[in-house]
Amino acid sequence: MTTPHHDDSNAPATRGDATPAVTERFENPGMPPHVPRRADEDPRAARRAEFQVVALFTISALASIGFVVAYYAIDRDLKGYLLGIGEVNLFHVALGVTMGLSLLCIGLGAIHWAKTLMPDEEVVEERHPQSSGEDDRQAVGQTLSHGWRSSQLNRRAALLGSAGGALGLFALPLVLPVVAGLGPRPRQELYTTHWEEGTLLRIDPSGAAIRAADVTQGSVFHVMPDGWVGHEAIEEHGAEEAMISKAKDQIILVKLDPATIRSQKQREWGYEGIVAYSKVCTHVGCPVALYEQQTHHLLCPCHQSTFDMTDDCKVIFGPAKRALPQLPITVDAEGYIVAAGGFREPVGPSFWERNRPGLLGDDQS
């Protein structure tokens, strides 16, 4: 058994009477007496514990076999109703429950076995200070020093310098192709969309063009540029370009009562109360999809940036800073709504060079 350890080297020995000795601190009383378990003393209790462990392992084995049976016997699409959960796919539930039981019961069996039948007397292992001894440290110090001196690095500066230089540089041929190969570098893509003067507005994904006269007050449309809508966009431009277009060209078109529009610029860029704004949130780019007709607020569901549609979509709440960019619109000869020009500012989240396009290269290559 361990002897009790104490911190004070000068504490007086414990006296024999009931009152504790007046040492500076209490002493460790050592391991408490062992309390035997039922199964250690009563053979019937031990047999009962053994039976329980055997039962658990048996359940596990049966469940494993049950898994194989379920895998082949139960139809993959079989549905059923489970109390407390609702309608479930019974095949999935059967596989999972049998697998779960097969694993769980091994674990419960092993732990129960350890707790009832295996020895439960605690054992003591001694610790040693983490530090190595002085001789270890000295030996290492000498080896290092000897290595330094015998390699002659301390005498030959050119050797040391050139080795350091070479080792410092060898990673370049490995790293450069990766870093320089990543790309492309950002150019003017962040400043341009597919909207330009005369581009027809089309409802996404049906592709229908919009007649200004048919737009009722309060209606909302999700709009993409002509040529970039629906399946045709994918067939014509490829899926990657079509997705990029979705991410930056998407527009929300709303008809407001012109009297409620407070911004003169908003009124001018719209058409008889119909206004078009970029749907890409200026925070981190989610589509600003929730239009509250009564309050004329546009709410982005991701982080709750709120834009006031009667005030040029300025931010009135939430983490966004900038108003949504407006697309100037007008009608063409047949009365369909078309863009009167492209966006006058970049759409989407803010970025460092947003106000200085010259910082990014301007040739599209």
Partner: protein
């Protein structure tokens, strides 16, 4: 030194003539105490016996809180196994396909190959959905296990010397686990996780100077491009698991080198480990626990659906659902994005600084993890403690640290709840604007409140421990004296129970442990520039602690029957034991339940 090797229930077997006396560990009188023949082959080639001798007798202390790290470890193994199965069927490509599989509602819908292969795993591969669910649930349990384990290590001071390295490794592992999870749930390219990728693109762009370059390099051009899913895939199945497994092996190796810590208790000292040896008890318990974790994860996967991506639909940049949140461990970051106000974005010389986004995302995670990683060194500097510690501290015995930890957790919880502000608004019928403003305020106010309350609770608990040591446990037995007085009898603690309550230290602040400012020759003590700050922080750390009961105090409590001097101290001072209030020092005598007369008061 001989150690009694317990034989358990062996001696109950009727056909056994097992040992009746304690045996030494080297004297195995059981008949099969021979090195197994099969292992001789290995031993002659790699010296297996030496390693096994070292390993099999390792002792592990037993406490439920030590299982939290095991939950994390086993969940990681389950994720590795199930993840390997998934790679057999998952296609990490954003190439466009039109779905024509078993899930009818999505028939004819255009989607990426990644999403389509995820649907195939869920609906075409038999048992595939179960594997997907196992993988996602085990990942969630992995991170929960890490968080609880890290909290246990923090609040018990297990990160102190010599375990600082292991703490730093653990902190790095927790960050990598969160990133690994984010990459993993983004792979199916569904609408919910794709919205998260869109937010990631947005906040990467907000980085000053390099933002646009970073996003173009990572995404291979504009958002969404066709590179992000394949790149996240290789990060998720190769790069991050390799680093995680490597660091984790190091994490375990350090536990073997340092040996596990243990809670204070009788027989446990700073120089030993008391517990069970690997063979057979710990192997059975720990191995069994792996099956328990796996089994429970499987049962949950069978009955509780997670990440039903077929309901969300494929990712489309023009679509989003209200009530979108990332997986729970990323809530604090998305919550920060919801709370940071827009006026933090400003323009300087025509360059845009989006601090509302940058601070909540690219700064927040590294900052939090750096503070976490540095904490052991900060605390060691403040307290001036340079000794090895292998006995854990009960959280109440380190009140300032416990309060700091809980305050930090409260900040995390405010950010995490802010991420579900829309769900809270709907379910509780509250204004989402008011909730957002409330969380903004709470972020600064709540940690202060929590710090104060937690520290007071710790001090109360310490005082309660002192009461128990000095006066024993309340028995609930009321005794009436012939004079008509009533009092409750107390049962004194035995030395074993008492030891666990007194085995802690109350260190002195650094400012009080150094010599005089000026020595007798008039030479001022050399002070480093930060030592004043350190003294103040150290004093803050150790003010208001309650020191452990000493034998002298216990003796005084025993003998003070006739005194009338003990009064309750209004505020405990450093080093001064907080004494109990007047009254009941009725002791059962050690052998029975008789009680002494109550003290007389003058």
């Amino acid at each position: 030194m001989t150690t009694h090797v317990p034989q358990g229930a062996d001696h109950l077997r009727s056909d056994d003539t097992g040992p009746e006396r304690p045996v030494s560990q080297t004297d195995q009188s059981s008949p099969d105490a021979k090195f197994p023949g099969a292992l001789v082959w290995a031993d002659e080639r790699v010296g297996a016996a030496k390693g096994l001798r070292f390993a099999l007798k390792k002792v592990f202390p037993d406490h439920w809180s030590f299982l939290l790290g095991e939950i994390a470890m086993y969940s990681m193994i389950i994720a590795l196994i199930t993840g390997t199965f998934l790679t057999l069927w998952f296609v990490p490509s954003m190439g466009h396909v039109t779905y024509d599989g078993a899930y009818v509602p999505l028939k004819g819908v255009g989607m990426s190959e990644a999403y389509a292969s995820t649907l195939d795993i869920s609906f075409e591969v038999k048992g595939g959905l179960l594997i997907r669910q196992l993988h996602h649930w085990s990942a969630l349990f992995f991170i929960v296990g890490i968080a609880l384990h890290a909290a246990r290590v923090f609040f018990t001071g297990a990160f102190r010397k010599p375990r600082e390295i292991n703490w730093v490794i653990g902190v790095v592992l927790s960050l990598l686990a969160a990133i690994e999870g984010f990459a993993g749930y983004s792979l199916p390219d569904d609408l919910l996780s794709g919205t998260g990728i869109r937010a990631m693109n947005g906040f990467m762009m907000s980085a000053p100077v390099i933002g646009t370059w970073m996003t173009f390099f990572v995404f291979g051009g504009e958002f969404p491009g066709e590179s992000i899913i394949p790149r996240l895939y290789i990060a998720h199945v190769l790069l991050l698991p390799a680093i995680i497994v490597g660091l984790f092996v190091l994490h375990l190796a350090l536990v073997v080198i340092h040996k596990h810590t243990q809670y204070p208790g009788p027989g446990r000292t700073n120089d030993n480990v008391v517990g069970f040896p690997i063979m057979p008890v710990y192997a059975a318990k720990a191995g069994g626990f792996f099956f328990v974790v796996f089994g429970i994860t499987a049962l949950v996967s069978a009955l509780v659906q997670i990440n039903g991506v077929w309901v969300y639909g494929p990712y489309d940049p023009t679509q989003v659902t209200a009530g979108s949140q990332p997986d729970f461990y990323m809530w604090f970051s998305d919550g920060a994005l919801r709370l940071l106000p827009g006026w933090l974005e400003f323009t300087l010389f025509d360059t845009v600084w989006s601090f509302n986004i940058f601070l909540g995302s690219l700064v927040l995670l590294p900052l939090v993890w750096m503070v976490l990683g540095a904490y052991p060194f900060i605390e060691a500097w403040i307290t001036g403690d340079k000794r090895e510690h292998h006995i854990l501290q009960r959280p109440r015995n380190a009140p300032t640290r416990t309060a700091i930890g809980l305050a930090a957790i409260s900040m995390y919880l405010v950010l995490a709840l802010a991420c579900v502000n829309d769900i809270l608004a709907i379910k509780l019928g509250l204004s989402i604007n008011d909730l957002t403003i409330l969380f903004r305020t709470l972020f600064f106010v709540l940690p202060v409140l929590v710090f104060f309350m937690a520290k007071r609770v710790c001090l109360s608990l310490q005082r309660h421990d002192r009461e128990r040591v000095l006066h024993g446990n309340e028995t609930g037995r009321i005794v009436r004296t012939p004079e008509g007085r009533f009092f409750e009898s107390h049962e004194p603690l035995d030395e074993y129970e008492r030891w666990a309550l007194v085995d802690y230290e109350t260190p002195t602040p650094t400012g009080l442990t150094q010599g005089p400012e000026v020595d007798r020759r008039g030479v001022a003590r050399r002070r480093s520039p930060l030592s004043g700050l350190r003294d103040r922080l150290s004093s803050f750390f150790y003010t208001d602690t309650v020191s452990a009961v000493t034998p002298a105090e216990l003796a005084a409590a025993h003998h003070h029957g006739e005194h009338d001097a003990l009064e309750e101290a209004s505020s405990p001072q450093l080093g001064v034991p907080v004494n109990d209030s007047i009254g009941d020092d009725d002791f059962s005598d050690p052998h029975g339940s008789a009680v002494h007369a109550p003290p007389r008061h003058h």
